[in-house]
């Protein structure tokens, strides 16, 4: 098992290095003079210009600049925001929990509904239930989620008045950030109604963000389940006299889950991309909104650092999924 994990990590390292090159190149591909972009265009004093070049390391050859960049990365230094002058890493860490909280809730929603829908559809193959599930999955899979968010706001917030339109919690609450997860922090604060408020703020964004993963999981679960239900060992399980529920849940699901877990892992990328849109619609103060705001403010160090961090995150999650895959599927673990 340990060797298996080491092998997986070894595969990931070159990809990570490539991402750093990409992030490094990003800042150099911006049209125009980098110093003018970074410092602002007000002072064009030649002496100042030269100093800025030196301070930013731009007077050195490109590979030296990259090595310096790597060196700074290793020490966790991703540069400073041009707007707030805060370290990029600090801003990221401050906003990250909000995105994680939203993503986890979205994924929970997607996994629970997607798995259930897929299992039911597979066991009722060809019936109306199956057609409804597959039709909804196709629609969900094709959904422009930025519009879906607006529609849900229009329906549940504007017309029915059930949920708030934006933010993480009502303004009347002042919750100290302990974990950064609003659902947990509100519970810790003990303020009455705070948890309910946080939950009602979270529910629509989570559904919107979870829609595409849900559709993908439902499709994958169904087809994987159908495949497994045809296997010989399912016949064996039934021949043992096990109840239909036990046959599906214990014997079929475990094997059907193997490809589904991979798909769930791959959805993490979709989630973070979706977070950009969802957070913008719901004014959710997470890294997705942060990135988009920074782009419109031309805050390039934030864009560069943010992209790098998000990519790293995705690589790490995929690594985790790979390892998890080995845990569920003993054949993978023992291979090679």
């Amino acid at each position: 098992m340990f060797n298996f994990i080491l092998r997986r990590i070894a595969v990931v390292i070159p990809t990570f290095l490539g991402i750093t090159v990409l992030a490094f190149a990003l800042i150099h591909m911006i049209p125009g003079d980098p110093v003018l972009v970074m410092v602002g265009e007000r002072r064009l004093d030649p002496e100042f210009y030269r100093q800025a070049m030196q301070r930013l390391g731009l007077d050195q050859p490109l590979y030296m600049q990259y090595l310096h960049y790597l060196q700074k990365l290793v020490s966790g230094n991703l540069g400073e925001s041009l707007v707030t002058h805060e370290p990029v890493m600090a801003e990221f860490l401050k906003l990250f929990p909000a995105t994680v909280e939203l993503s986890i809730c979205a994924m929970l929603f997607a996994a629970v509904t997607g798995l259930a829908a897929g299992i039911v559809a597979a066991n009722r193959r060809g019936t109306a239930v199956d057609h409804v599930v597959m039709g909804s999955a196709l629609t969900g899979y094709s959904m422009p989620i930025f519009w879906w968010g607006l529609v849900l706001i229009m329906l549940f917030s504007v017309h029915l008045g059930w949920t708030p339109v934006s933010g993480r919690i009502d303004l009347e609450f002042d919750i100290p950030a302990v974990t950064g997860f609003m659902l947990i922090d509100t519970l810790l604060s003990g303020e009455e109604g705070a948890f309910a408020s946080a939950l009602s703020h979270l529910i629509l964004p989570a559904i919107v963000l979870g829609t595409i993963p849900m559709a993908v999981i439902a499709r994958m679960t169904r087809s994987s389940m159908l495949e497994v239900l045809r296997e010989d060992y399912i016949r064996t399980a039934r021949a043992k006299g096990l109840s239909p529920v036990r046959v599906v849940v214990v014997h079929a699901l475990r094997n059907a889950l193997v490809p589904v877990v991979t798909v769930i892992g791959l959805q993490v990328g979709t989630l973070l991309a979706g977070a950009v849109l969802t957070e913008t619609i719901f004014s959710w103060p997470g890294i997705g909104k942060w990135l988009i705001d920074s782009i419109s403010r031309r805050d390039y160090p934030v864009v560069q650092g943010g992209i790098l961090l998000v990519a790293t995150l995705i690589i790490l999650v995929n690594l985790l999924v790979d390892i998890l895959y080995g845990v569920i599927n003993p054949r993978i673990r023992h291979a090679r």
């Binding site: 010989d232 060992y233 064996t236 006299g241 096990l242 094997n255 003993p330």
Partner: protein, 326 residues
């Protein structure tokens, strides 16, 4: 009273208005402690009959029977839950491809203990102890370490031994073995067969052996049923069937064994193929291929009738010399 009594069992697949009868009016009775062989070519309905008995025919398939009684209990009127209590405990089944018949996600121990805990109500440690005994009973070396092995770490023969251990876990009264050795190496085939027969004796269970291999039947079975296109065409006690087949199809089957054709240039074969869904003859199902078929055979469907201690579905059963009695 016999252990298993099947009267007019039929299995249909496909839509209601255009059904395909995979098994038609099968009659079979099995006594306690008896070994009965079922032979017939692929698609003749051997396995489907047994799957129907086990209640393993899935939704689009339909099972009908006038009587399906096991050990005094009527399987047709029994609730699914009550039937599940019987299946896997008193009637167990092993399959052709043992490697794919074991769940790849669980250890051998888990799969063995699952049956024990469900049907015998054993505690975890009791089940573990019994599972170990079972693995030793089916002569698996280093049984203890095999409990934590995954199916992909076992060979085909080893997997089949595990399947057998699972099947006999609750001391079944009837074990159905569906071509248990077909997927195995020749040397392993004999070992598994020996194991099955010795277990049959020591556990005092009845054994239904589905096979292509007439040599195996000759060696171990007490009685044999021959199936053709979903029907039983002949049931005979074992020594007789080999020197006096009553049905032309049985005769043809025996003639196709290489040992029976010593000195011949080619193996004897029956021309033609088993009828499918759309070309089922009106009369005897074998009539298009039967060398002795007459007008009656082509127009009327023969019933299973008793001749000399055998049951034969033929208008003109064969005599000692292998010629039809007209």
């Amino acid at each position: 009273m016999s252990l298993l009594e099947i009267k007019n069992l039929s299995v249909e697949f496909g839509s209601q208005d255009n059904p395909f009868r995979a098994v038609q009016d099968v009659n079979l009775s099995i006594n306690r402690g008896e070994i009965v062989g079922i032979v017939g070519e692929s698609g003749s309905g051997k396995s489907v009959t047994m799957l129907a008995l086990m209640g393993l025919i899935e939704a689009p398939g339909r099972v009908t029977a006038d009587q399906l009684v096991f050990d005094g209990q009527d399987l047709m009127t029994m609730s699914p839950a009550a039937k599940r209590h019987l299946v896997g405990k008193d009637v167990a089944m092993i399959f052709q491809d043992a490697l794919t018949s074991l769940n790849p996600a669980y250890t051998v121990g888990f799969q063995l203990m699952e049956t024990l805990r469900l049907h015998m109500g054993l505690s975890k440690s009791e089940a573990q102890k019994r599972a170990l005994e079972l693995l030793e009973l089916v002569e698996i070396p280093a049984a203890k370490s095999r409990l934590s092995a995954y199916p992909h770490q076992l060979s085909g023969g080893m997997s089949q031994r595990v399947m057998i251990a699972m099947a006999i876990a609750c001391n079944p009264k009837l074990l159905i073995a569906d071509e248990p050795t077909t997927a195995l190496d020749v040397t392993v085939q004999a070992q598994i067969m020996d194991l099955l027969v010795s277990l049959q004796k020591s556990q005092d269970m009845a054994l239904i052996l589905i096979t292509h291999d007439l040599a195996v039947i000759a060696e171990v079975a007490h009685r044999v049923a021959v199936m053709y296109a979903g029907e039983i065409v002949e049931t005979s006690p074992v020594p007789e069937i080999f020197y006096r087949p009553h049905h032309p199809y049985t005769q043809a089957l025996l003639a196709s064994i290489p040992e029976h054709s010593k000195g011949a240039e080619r193996l004897a074969t029956l021309p033609g193929v088993v009828p499918g869904q759309y070309d089922r003859p009106i009369g005897c199902l074998l009539s298009p291929r039967c060398p002795y078929a007459n007008e009656k055979c082509r127009n009327e469907h023969p019933k299973l009738t008793q001749t000399h201690g055998s049951f034969v579905r033929c208008f003109t059963p064969l005599d000692e010399a292998g010629r039809p009695i007209v």
